[in-house]
Every structure is written in structure tokens, then in C-alpha cells.
Point group: C2
Chain length 103, copies 2
């Protein structure tokens, strides 16, 4: 079973963010989440194709310290609203496909 | 650019969970996250292929109320350690591929 998504989910809210600018800003994310949005660390989530609304909410929760992670708290603190929108647009524009395990 | 992952990242920790049992338990998750692990709601993340360590940590944060979401707090409260391991194994066994946006 293959399902494709990403651009589709992200596009309605993307207007606020600039995916090209986001790609540049994503250089600081790549050690843990990759430029491809796929986790490079066992405690880091994949963030490829995440809905923009979820992505922005997650960063803002780290910023407000209602969600905590040593490294993400520091990163989130450094991000402006525009940075967050651009990163959300970039990662949200990655198309994600999945293949289910055999049953 | 196509990258494939999922089983690879998940397998070292999977021993604890039963992916087939997890698939059954995932029926309660599908309204928001799909049986395919792809978000069905703008404020719900994709959870397909998430590293098992991250997945288990996230659910336990909801359980401990150090991470908050109205619906997830209720769901997490209802899950045993075995349920969480099985769900982590199932969603972690989904293979994720990504395609980057044109630059």
C-alpha cells in the first residue's frame, strides 16, 4: 500500500512561510532531523511532510516550555515567527510516501 | 531524492513490541493518524516510521502530562506499557520515503 501526501496537506497554510528560505534555515535542523526530514537520532522524530499547523504548534510549545527537550528548547528560543513559518513550509513541502508492513 | 527508512531505524528496539498486535490496537489511532501513520487532521502529526524510542517517549510524556493535548492525554492514559510497545512496533515498521521539493 502506497500513499502520497505532504504538499497536499501543507499547501493551504503555506502562504505564510517561504519554503526556499526554510531550506536554508533547516541547515541547523539537519543533524537530528535531516534536510530530508527523516530522523537521524533515535529520540528525534521524522518531521518530513508534517502538517504546517502541527509543526508551528510544536515549535511554539518548545518556546513556551510547555513541551520540553534539552536541545529543542534552545533551538526554538532562537527562532522568530518568520523562521518557524519558513521551516514549517519547507518541511511541510516534502512529500511523504509510506509502505505498510506485511500483515 | 528518495530515501527509505523505517524498519531500519525501528528494528533494534522492536523486540519489546509486537507489530501485529500493534496494528489491531492502532484502530483507535486511525481517525487522526491513519492506519498508515499519515496525519488525517491538521493538528495531528504523521507517526509513520517514527523511531521507537521517540514514539514511546512521546506517549509517556502525554501520560505524565508533561506534554499536553486534549485527546492524546485521554488516549495515553488508557494505554499499558505493552500497548505502547506494540503501537511503537507497528508504526515504526511502516517504511517511509520522502521526495524533496524542487529547489
Amino acid at each position: 500500500v502506497l500513499v502520497t501526501l505532504g504538499l497536499f496537506l501543507a499547501s493551504p497554510v503555506n502562504a505564510a512561510g517561504d519554503a526556499k528560505a526554510g531550506r536554508q534555515k533547516a541547515l541547523m535542523c539537519q543533524g537530528c532531523h535531516g534536510l530530508d526530514g527523516l530522523s537521524k537520532q533515535p529520540d528525534a522524530p521524522h518531521i518530513a511532510g508534517q502538517p504546517v499547523l502541527y509543526f508551528v504548534k510544536a515549535i511554539n510549545e518548545y518556546k513556551a516550555k510547555s513541551r520540553r527537550h534539552e536541545q529543542m528548547s534552545i533551538v526554538a528560543e532562537s527562532l522568530s515567527e518568520a523562521d518557524i513559518a519558513d521551516l514549517a513550509a519547507y518541511y511541510g513541502a516534502i512529500t511523504v510516501s509510506v509502505e505498510l508492513p506485511a500483515r
